[in-house]
Each structure stands twice: as C-alpha cells, then as structure tokens.
Amino acid sequence: MAGQGPLLAIEDLRTVFRSSAGDLPAVDGVSVSVAPGRTLGIVGESGCGKSVLSLSIMRLVPRPGRITSGSIRFDGRDLLTLSEGEMRGLRGGSIGMIFQEPMTSLNPVHTVGRQIIEAVSAHKDLSASAAKDVAIDALRRVRIPAPEKRFEEYPHQLSGGMRQRVMIAMALSCEPRLLIADEPTTALDVTIQAQILDLLKLLQQETGMSIILITHDLGVVAEMADEVAVMYAGRVVETGPVNAVFGDAQHPYTLGLFGSVPRLDGENQSLLAIEGTVPPPFALPPGCRFNPRCGFASDRCRSEMPLLRPLGPSHQAACWHAPVEAEFG
C-alpha cells in the first residue's frame, strides 16, 4: 500500500479540558497517520491521552473537553470542519469504534440484534427484514455461532468475549474504512484476548480496513500493528514502523516501557519499573514532560521541550538525547 496517501492524518491536534485552573491539555500537539489497510498502534500508560485522542477522532470528547486546534483529515476531509450531521454520518459508517468494556458498552435493555440494526439503519436505508439480514450477517462474520439465536439475546446472556464480538459486529456492520479499537481486549481473559485479536486481523484482511489500536499492552501492539506511536502526557514521544521502534527504541520512556515487560526467554531479570507516575495535565513539568522520571535528563531537558526528530526511515523520537546509544553507549 506504500505510495498511497494516508486514510487518516491527524496534524498537531490539541484537546483540552476546561477547568477552573484553565485549559488542561489531554492531547497536546499530536500528529499521527494511518494508511489504508494498515494498523497503527497507540501505546501509553493510563492517563497519557490515548483514549481522548480516539474520542477526538470521533468528535465525541465528553464535556468539558473540546478540541482547540489542529486538523483530523479523513479521506481528504477535515473532520473538525464538518457539521454535526455530517460527522454523525461518518460515526459508525466510515469510522467504526469499539471500546474497552464490552460489559458496559452494550445497552443491557435492548437485544443484541436491535442494537446492531440501529447501527445499520442509522446509515443505510433498508427495510426491517433487510436490516435484520445485514445484522445477522455481521454476527456471522465475527464468527458468532448460531447468529440467528444470538440475535434475539440480551447482552447479559453473553460472555465477555461474545459481547466484544457483538461490539465488533456492530462497528463493522456498515463496513467502515477505519476501525478505532480502544483497549479492545483489556477486560478479557488472555485466551479470549488472543481470539479477538486474531479475529480483528482476519477481518482486516477480509475488508481491507485500517485499524487504530489503542492499548497499554506492548505485546498486543507487537502482534497487531504496522506502525506505532508511543504517547506520554498528551504527546507522541516516539513513532515509527513497529520493527524500528521495537527493535531500536530511542526514547527513554519507550525503553522504560520495554524494561517493564516480563519476558519468558533470557536470564532471570528483575523487571524495571519507571519510577513515578504520568504527570496530570494540571502539573506538567517544564521542558520534556518525561524529565522528572528520566535517568538521562539534563538541564536542557528540564527547560526546553524536545520535538519529534527523524532517526531513521519514518522513525522519530522526541528526545534531546536520541539516539541514546550514541550519547550514552
């Protein structure tokens, strides 16, 4: 797919939450893009702004949050300039979204079938029976056994994995070109996680859709993504092809994330934790936002904010000391 323009390109996006202490940036100058048929993984700790980023794409940031600047170009159109009605046409139509909690993301009082039909009818002018056919077909596509029976059931009658399959069926019922998956497997058992990820991959091959996969799980990114963006405190600190970032991480934060993943191979190493926590938007340090937790931090890091710099073919990191090996060996 190389050579094609991106399906979605986010430029310098800023989403803030208004508070008595002023505008608190949850997403601060983020630029990422995803090409048709590709998967972009967005990784980071809780509170780094990755979920707000995904909701910003859908323009569903809850109040008092709002997008203050930047652009989100989807298929050539800037989503931030669309009317609410036009945006609604895209949500669930060209852009599908699934969420972390399949337990609470489905409405408990409506049948699974009705909820899928709602999504279909919001975008397609179909008769009741045709919409039902589309919905059952969507259930079949996500490999739910006995879809006609499941169609009539309520969410509480399904297991967590089944519910996430229903969410996927719903999100894909209108054949979106982009699927945003916000922590799609976090709430599931490990074996079910693998099944859901395999399913997403399979469906991507079948439909050619792009995926934005938001997760805190590096293993999931490694398995699924083509490109990855590492977020910290509302900013992208490192981005590039998954091989480059995983094989040759340049930002101390990315290195720290890898250090905190348990491994089965190799020596009996102790896990390296990154000391401290992500600073909240109301207490961001001056300079590089990672500097209070960074072992490499220098005076420059404490006063000047580093921007993303190219370090290899489409591999970028926002660190004054990158590439770290060159400086520190």
């Binding site: 859908m58 569903l60 809850p62 609604r88 046409g89 895209l90 949500r91 669930g92 139509g93 599908g96 979204m97 969420f99 909690e101 609470t104 993301s105 489905l106 409405n107 408990p108 009082v109 409506h110 049948t111 709602e118 999504a119 919001a122 975008h123 309520y154 509480h156 009658q157 969410m167 719903m170 999100a171």
Partner: protein
Amino acid sequence: MLAHIARRLLTAIPVMFGVLLIGFVLLQVVPTDPAVVRAGPLATPDVIDAIRKDLGLDQPLWMQFFLYLGRLLRGDLGVSIINNVPVSQELGATIGPTLELMFASLIWAIPLGILLGTVAAYWRGSIFDRAVMAFAVAGVSVPVFFVGLVLIWFVGFKWQLLPFTGRDGPIWTLAGLKAIALPALTLGGVFVGPVARMTRTAVLDVLGADHVRTARAKGLAERLVVLHHALRNALIPVVTLIGLQIGFLLGGAVVTETIFSWPGVGRLAVGAILSSDMPLAQGTIIVLSLGFIVINLIVDVLYAVLDPRVRAS
C-alpha cells in the same frame, strides 16, 4: 414472571393483616363510642348498651378483631354505623371516582415529569434545568391542600373558570372533565416535581454510561440516543421510585378529595374516621392499602418489562 407475581401476592397477605391490625388498634384510640354515636343524643343508657351488644362492642378487643377478620374472610365488610348501609356498597360507589381522579392526575403528571426531568438532564446546568429543579423543590415542599386552595381561590372562585366542588358525571363527558380538572391539577401538580427530579437524576446517570457513548459512536441521532438509550434505561429506576411515591399520592388523594368534595374513598375515609364509623373506616383502610399493594405489584411487573435482566432471574 407469573411465579414472581404469585410470590408478591403471597407476601401481600401478612402486609394486609398488619394493616388491618394497626387500623383496628388506631380506631380504638379515637375517644368516641360508636354505640353512643349510633344511638344518637337522646338515647337512654339501656338503649346504648343494647346497641353495644348488638355491634359486638361488649366483647374483648382481641375477640372483636378476630370476629371482624372472620367476617372479612367471608366477604362481609360490615354495615356502616352512621348510614346503616353495607360498607361494601359505600366503597363500591366511591372506588370509581377515586380511580378516576388518580388516573386523571397521573396521566399528565408522570409524562410531564419525565419530559421535564429528561430535558433538564440533557441541558444540565442550563437555565431551564435550574427552573425545573426549583419547580421540583417547590412541588415537594408545598402541601397538597395549599395548591388545592390556591387553585380554588383563583381558577374556581375569582376567575370562575372551572367548578371546584364534587363530581359531575364520568370523565369522558365535558361536564365531568371540567369537574375533575382542578382536583386532578392539584393532585398531579404535586407529583410532577418529584417525578421530574427522579428522572433528571436517572437520566444524568445513564447519559454518562458507556453504552450511550457506544450509541453515539455508531452514529445515532441525538433524539434516538436520548430516547432509546438514555431515557429507556433511566425509566427502570424512575418506575421504582414512582412506585415508592404512590403512598404519598394516596395521602394526597385523601386531602384533595376532601377539599374538592370529591366523592371518593379518601373523603369517605375522613368522614368515617371523624364520625367513629369503625366498619366503614376499616373498609376504606382496606381499599387504600389494597390500592397500594396493587400499584406496587404493577410497578414490579413494569420493572420486569423494562429490564430483561430482571425477567431472566
């Protein structure tokens, strides 16, 4: 579902027994002697004694209670001491108007309360929201009789727009509708506020839920998001709370019927208690408590209709 209803009906039996017992004891506390009332001011002690014996009032209290229960089980509610008419006949004539008044009050008050609460929740913090909440607090604080008297004074008396005493035929005739307007406005009016407040809280709660975000993410119009996802789910707690408030409404009905001379069970109850007409008073208590039990049963059924998770368990 049927088993659920049957179970609820069974639990209603001890409730009814308790209501009868408490009602009976309370009526004994009233410091008038039914035999004296029945005999009239000119009766001699002999006559009063004879009447007392005739009414079974010379028996010990517990005996009187169980004799009463025994008659009740045979469907005999006794005879009104004052009017000498079977209690069942008195009740039969008044239940209709009371149901009519309840219906006419709730038919507008519940939808209006739900509408106001939903709109207030959707535009939370707006002027409309604040106005609705102020109105709701007023609705909870202002007593029924005050609302009734204000309506009588202005609408009924000063401006002469609507009648304000008694019933004037069934509700589907113009005269009947006019006659019920003020009582229904009064009784419903005090119910709008609590319903609006409960709905607002419930809708606010649901609007923040994950599945509402899902509904928006699939591109549903806001109208559908609010109606099918927020309000539809919020109705579950709202219905429960309305059920709990019904006792309050029955109390309001007694007051409303009294000030508007509405020929219902509530006014009958007040009259019976004031004149120490024990069989009649007990009869009205039975009807009012049965009403409460039935309404709660309806709420239970509605709850299961609204929530598939309840249906399953």
